[in-house]
């Protein structure tokens, strides 16, 4: 059955997360990674008060594996730390040589 969340508020981070320092947040995330071998290729780089957690992968994974792994990782953080967490990979800039001449850098 279709679950209708159209009018439901998007999950936001709670005080426990927002009042924590960034280094403490990253320590907490790293601790969760160390407890779960399946996430050992994830390296958290930064975390923000609004729940955005940025990561990099220490090895190349095919699209069929990285997406589902990151969704599962995010679910773990949501369940154990804060529902408002959102995991994002660090962005990659355009590799097109011609377009790069425009000098546009992907913001993050």
């Amino acid at each position: 059955m279709f679950k209708n969340y159209a009018d439901v508020d998007t999950f936001a981070t709670q005080e426990g997360w927002t009042k924590m320092s960034e280094s403490k947040r990253l320590d907490l995330i790293k601790q969760k990674i160390s407890e779960h071998n399946e996430f050992e290729v994830i390296h958290p780089t930064r975390s923000q008060e609004d729940g955005q957690v940025f990561i990099e992968l220490t090895e190349e994974l095919p699209a069929s594996k990285r997406g589902i792994m990151l969704l599962s990782f995010e679910a773990l953080l949501k369940e154990n730390i804060d529902q408002g967490i959102n995991v994002w990979h660090e962005p990659i800039d355009d590799k097109n040589k011609l377009r790069k001449l425009r000098g546009i850098v992907v913001k993050s």
Binding site: M1, F2, K3, N4, Y5, A6, D7, V8, D9, T10, F11, L57, E60, P62, A63, S64, R66, G67, I68, L70, L71, E74, K78, N86, V87, W88, H89, E90, P91, I92, D93, D94, K95, N96, L98, R99, L101, R102, I104, V105, V106, K107, S108
Partner: protein, 390 residues
């Protein structure tokens, strides 16, 4: 030459009357796929009606408004001809009805381009293509045009110097403009000569600094004799990488109306008012559109929307059809889990993705449907043109 008021509204849906039928560019066609809307609402897994994709990420242009700048995934796999044909077979098996070659690359550069279009025709899948037209030469045009539902040329401006400045290296490089115009004219003539059904249009992606190009663009569309010239907003990502100021669009409304009034019986000038007036803000938080209109990158990456191709959105990367068959990606748990996520309170379309995606109209309609603001109903009108392109 008669000037006409060309935009009609029925039940809030915009369409434009042309000689060949009603053309919907500033709305959606979901009522004509009501069975899938019903199945989706019943919680069933549905195949996309339309897939928007590219056969390569390569492009010889360097458009200043290009969203592909922000769509770099981890890998750039080349799409082999056989991969592309297998993809179409999988589309046919699950019930995809239309494929638009737009997405994040210039598909005319791919070796798979001609065989892909011809194979789609044998499977009964409608094909459309957006291109700069630079490498779309007469021999290629003749091989594909009879099989295509529509072709839309990216024409950033109506004047050669501005066109070349926006789409290529500088205002002095007008050879790209000349080449594109020559190919467009060839297609217009071939369509007339062979009485082909393919709709031909040109599109301007409007950014506020190029407002002086609006009228020359409309005049160019009329002079070329294409079926339409459409003017749309420019999308940006949620961080404003391209620096689009949506507030400035309002200052161009008079010029846009003037351009629309340049429509003739043969050539309609169409402004995507709904998207322009939304000023980069969506009315929906949940993102249902991709289940009906899926996007695939020219790198082979399958993600719900082109807005998620960049590595940043890796959690939405569902697979790559050059590494495994698309049908296996579609049938996988990861496909449904990703789609469900986008419809959950974990995701917010207003803050977690770029502005006005290709699925915008569909997403607005589905959101309004679910909220009971405006239900999608079975159509009472005859089918519009390009019905399989949502």
């Amino acid at each position: 030459m008669s000037h006409v008021i060309n935009t009609n509204r029925v039940n809030g849906d915009n369409f434009v009357e042309t000689k060949e039928g009603n053309l919907i560019l500033d709305s959606h066609k979901l009522p004509f796929h009501y069975d899938r809307v019903e199945a989706w609402e019943n919680g069933e897994k549905i195949a996309p009606v339309t897939v928007d994709m590219a056969l390569t990420r390569a492009c010889g242009a360097m458009c200043s408004f290009c969203y592909a700048i922000m769509q770099e995934p981890q890998e750039r796999r080349g799409i082999k001809v056989q991969d592309a044909l297998n993809l179409l077979d999988d589309f046919a098996e699950i019930g995809v009805k239309g494929v638009s070659l737009i997405s994040d690359g210039e598909s005319t550069l791919s070796k798979a381009y001609v065989p892909f279009i011809q194979h789609a025709a044998t499977l009964g899948i409608d094909i459309g293509n957006a291109t700069n037209g630079w490498e779309w030469k007469p021999d290629k045009i003749e091989q594909v045009l009879p099989y295509m539902t529509w072709v839309r040329f990216t024409v950033a401006a109506g004047r050669p110097e501005s066109y070349s400045k926006i789409m290529f290296k500088g205002p002095e490089d007008t050879q790209v403009f000349d080449r594109a115009m020559s190919h467009i004219k060839y297609a217009v003539d071939l369509k007339k000569k062979n009485n082909l059904e393919c709709t031909l249009g040109i599109q301007m992606v409007l950014t506020p600094e190029f407002k002086d190009e609006i009228i020359p663009f409309a005049q160019l569309a009329v002079d070329l004799g294409v079926d339409y010239g459409v003017i749309k907003h420019c999308s940006d990502d949620e961080y404003g990488t391209l620096g689009i100021d949506y507030e400035k669009y309002e200052n161009m409304y008079d010029l846009l109306e003037e351009a629309e009034n340049m429509s003739t019986d043969d050539t309609k000038i169409i402004v995507k008012w709904d998207k322009i007036r939304d000023k980069g803000v969506s009315s929906y938080n949940r993102f249902y559109g991709p289940q009906f209109l899926l996007q695939i990158s020219g790198s082979g990456l399958v993600a719900p929307s082109g807005m998620f191709f960049n590595a940043r959105y890796s959690k939405f990367h569902m697979g790559n059809f050059t590494e495994e068959r698309f049908i296996d990606i579609y049938k996988s748990d990861r496909y449904q889990r990703t789609m469900n996520y986008l419809g959950s309170p974990h995701f917010d379309a207003q803050t977690m993705m770029g502005t006005l995606p290709i699925q915008h109209y569909v997403s607005v309609a589905l959101d309004n449907h679910i909220k009971g603001i405006r239900r999608i109903e079975k159509p009472t009108d005859s089918e519009p043109l390009h019905v399989n392109f949502l």
